[in-house]
Structure formats: C-alpha cells, structure tokens
C-alpha cells in the first residue's frame, strides 16, 4: 500500500487506510509534538488529536506528491500543541533582547547531536520553547508567531532571545560545543 492508496482508503473511512497513515507518520508526529509539549503523555494525546482531526477533515486534503501529507499532518499537530499551550502558558514580557549572530548559531547547531538539541529544547520553559520552535525550527516570523500565540511581537522577540541565551549557556556548561 502506498501513500496515495492509503489516503484514498482513508477518505472512504476505511480503517486499514487510516491505520497505514498512522503507522507511517505517527512516530514522527509524536516527536514534533514532544518538541512543544514536554510531557510524553500529553504529546501523545496531541498527536492522536491531530490524527483524529485529520481523518475527520480528510475530504479537504488533496494529495500533491510526497511530503504533502507530512506537511499537512505536521501543521495540524503543531496547531493542537499551540492550542494546548495557549491555555496554560503565560508569556512573560522580558526587557532586553540579546543580539546573537545567526551564522555563528547555525554553526553551533550543525555540530551538536540532534538528540542533545532535542533534550535542550525540551528542557526550556514553555514560553521560550514555543517561540524558539516556531521561529528557529519552523521558520515563522515574529509577526506570525505573535498572531498564532496572541502575544505582541516584542514579547515574541524577547522570548526567543531568552531561549537562545539559555541554550548557549547550556551548551557551554555541558561542553557540547567549544
């Protein structure tokens, strides 16, 4: 069974098609959810809710090649996580934005193991982690992030700056990069 036939079956509310989609992309979506939500059980719940919504709204999805399904699923799962975080996360406005050279930062992350990066990101506070994920990983701008989270652009920039500083200190402390 390939991705297209699985989606075709899932559109007919066929359990085998739905199962194939879930088995193929479930784990990846769980890891994405875990980047936003620290708790594994909550992350799994967000991932399942994302798939549930996907299967309910699958008629609106149009398959357009490899990667389109993952992109669609990822968007849904991230939205689920953000909805969950919006209920409980308080984004504190902090003064002072440290300017970090993005080229230098890019080199640092390129040399660090992905698992260490993941652990460092998960260890960040909710507000820092969310903004860092949306800006540094997903590539959204501050304006988009402010709209998505219902905060000001200044708050988004502040949260990102504090998240980077925290990561830098951690990298130095654990001698991950010298």
């Amino acid at each position: 069974m390939n991705e297209l036939s699985a989606i075709t079956l899932a559109k007919k509310n066929d359990r085998k098609g739905q199962q194939w989609v879930f088995y193929t992309h479930g784990e990846q979506m769980l890891v994405i959810a875990l980047r936003y939500v620290r708790d594994v059980q909550v992350a799994e719940e967000m991932m399942q809710n994302g798939f549930l919504k996907f299967f309910q709204q699958i008629e609106r999805f149009e398959y357009s090649g490899t990667g389109s399904l993952v992109a669609w699923l990822k968007k849904i799962v991230i939205n689920e996580c953000l909805m969950h975080l919006r209920k409980k996360t308080i984004f504190i406005v902090e003064n002072g934005i440290d300017s970090v050279d993005e080229v230098e930062e890019n080199n640092i992350f390129a040399r660090i193991d992905a698992r260490d990066i993941m652990n460092m990101i998960v260890a960040l506070p909710d507000g820092y982690r969310t903004v860092f994920n949306l800006y540094a990983v997903e590539g959204f701008g501050h304006k988009e992030i402010s709209e998505m989270l219902g905060i000001s652009e200044g708050t988004s920039k502040s949260q990102l700056s504090k998240a980077k500083n925290m990561l830098r200190e951690k990298i130095k402390k654990e001698h991950l990069y010298e």
């Binding site: 799994e44 399942q48 993005e102």
Partner: protein, 255 residues
Amino acid sequence: MNNKGEILKDRLDSLSALDAGIVYSRETSWDKLADKMEQKKKHVIWPYYTGMAAALLIVIVFLKINLQQQKNQIPVVQTQSGTKQPTNPASAIIETFQNQANEAREVNDAHIKTASSNTKKSVSSPKAALNGSDVNSNIGFEEPIINCALPIKENFPPAPEEPKFSMRLKHIDHLNDTPISSQWQTPKAGNVRYNSNWVVHTNVLKEQEENEAFKPRKENNSFFNFVSAHNKHAAQQEEESNTNNNLSFQILQIK
C-alpha cells in the same frame, strides 16, 4: 524560512521516538486513536437522532397549530363579512382565541346568576284542582338560598311537572254507547276530559256495569271518589226528575 531553520528542522525531524528518549508503541497508540474515533462517531450519531426527533416534533406541532388555525379562521371570516382578512398568521391566531374567549364569556354570563340574600327558591308541586285558577298552586314551603355573594351557575328551579294521574278515568256511558258486556272489555274514557274547566257529562252511571277489577285503585284515589260521588248525585237528581215527569204525565193522562 531561513537557512538556520531548515538545518535545525531537518536534524530534529530526523529523530525517531527512541532517539528522543520515548518508548512508543504504535499499536497501542492506534488502539487509543480508534477508540477516540468510535466515541466521536457515537457523539455525532446522538445529536443526529435527537435533532431528527426534535425536527419531527416541531413539524407535528406546526401542523396541529395550522389545522387549528384553519378551523378557527372559517367563523372569523364569516363574522367579518369577508371584508377584513387577518394580515398575518399570528394576528389571526390571536383574533381567533379572542373570539373564542368572548363567546365563552357570553355563555357564562348568560348562565351565571348571582344569588342575593333575599332570593328564595320556591318549589312547585303538582296538585289536582277543580278550577283553573287552582292549577298553579304551590305547596308553600320556601327555601332560602345561602347568604353569600358567590355566583350560582345553576339557579333554575325544576320545571313544574304536569299532574300525573296513575289511574284510569271513570267510564261514563253515552246514550249511544254499546254496553260493556264482559269485565275484560276496556271502558271508554273519551267522554271525560279534564281541563282548566271540568266538564262531566250527566249520563247516569250504571253501577252494575263498572269494571270490578279497577275498584281497589279507584277507591284509593280521591279524584275518583270525587267523580264517583258527583256522578251518583247527578244520577239521583235525574231519577227524581224522571219520576216527577212520569207522575205529571200520568196526571195529564187522567185529566
């Protein structure tokens, strides 16, 4: 998306659950998801059926109201002589209910009579009378109604009943009547009529032709006793006059 984001994203997306330090069983997770989907279906089905039932109920109520309205609109249109029609259904319904309420109020007003403390109820009873002026006689007891101002809906005394006589009228023979030959022959009652003015024909009663079977009933009845006495008296007078006429006839013949 900037260059840094893409590098980081690719590296993070390449992580498996095990790399991220998660013990993940896709079968268990799928079972949970399947349960959630089943529950969602049930939640979707329930509102569907309840919605259908509610819609059906609304339709039934609407049809009933519509039928009632159609029934009530006919007299309304007739009373308004067809010149004025209700502008909308709501006003028609209100108008119909108002008409019904007014009619009900009129009927109640017609029947309700408030009893004052002075009102007395007299009950008439049948009484046999000889003269017409005595027919409408009262027994003579008056029953005061309760001294209260509450409306009494049924304040009508029972209609006075016509006198009922449970006996047969006395048979009086006319001159041309055929004589009663047996005791089973029914006597004729057509020559006695009771009315406001009593008329009793003066034919002579023949005691020997009376039906013996009716005697006990007649003796117990005052009316029959009276008629019998009256007829006896009339017969005696006629007998006397006949004897007088015979005597005078004999005297004339002697002369």
